[in-house]
């Protein structure tokens, strides 16, 4: 089942912070975050696993609330290069990784 992302779109000024949320109706094993710029391939940001393990980039932070089946991606002191569409993918036990519809982030000077 497809996770739900919010907000659908957000516009920031350079240096501002943003939070992107991802929620599922099913118990989750892992949450994956990717960023995709227009016309380009999705690029890996982070994986959060049940039990607290995280794999990802140092400058990106995220949380995974296993009980609420939710994850949040934190973008602090945004830069112009952060612009793009952010996708979360969720994986439940016995099911495939399923991506949400994405959150479009625009960072303006």
């Amino acid at each position: 089942q497809q996770p739900v992302q919010s907000p659908q779109a957000v516009i920031l000024r350079e240096g501002e912070d943003a939070v992107i949320n991802c929620s599922s109706s099913k118990a989750l094993y892992s949450v994956h975050w990717y960023r995709q710029k227009h016309g380009e391939a999705p690029v890996f940001l982070m994986i959060l696993l049940k039990g607290g393990e995280q794999k990802g980039h140092e400058k990106i932070s995220a949380s995974f609330n296993e009980k609420k089946q939710q994850s949040s991606l934190y973008l602090t002191a945004s830069q112009l290069s952060y612009s793009g569409t952010y996708f979360c993918g969720t994986e439940s036990f016995g099911s495939r990784l399923t991506f949400g519809e994405g959150t479009q982030l625009t960072v303006n000077p």
């Binding site: 994986i47 495939r96 990784l97 994405g102």
Partner: protein, 114 residues
Amino acid sequence: EAGVVQSPRYKIIEKKQPVAFWCNPISGHNTLYWYLQNLGQGPELLIRYENEEAVDDSQLPKDRFSAERLKGVDSTLKIQPAELGDSAVYLCASSLEGRSGEAFFGQGTRLTVV
């Protein structure tokens, strides 16, 4: 190190014609994925390979789509015959750590069926 390579980048065909996409994953990556991405949507998995074995193809429309990964390296996705609704970007990705590892995506093939 080269990334995931896909070809062609763009393809325009008439409906009912066949089309094939090719993917060369990152060397050493045993897991290979084919995704379909419609405009404004997230990627949707079509098929996942572990080496040469298709371990998840439940979402592949087998009446018209087929895929193969000979020798567990590069892969081909075919559509025959193509329909107007098949217009989308077809993404290939590979992973070293399997389904719960970082996936590296190719640039994709943008298919337009007219």
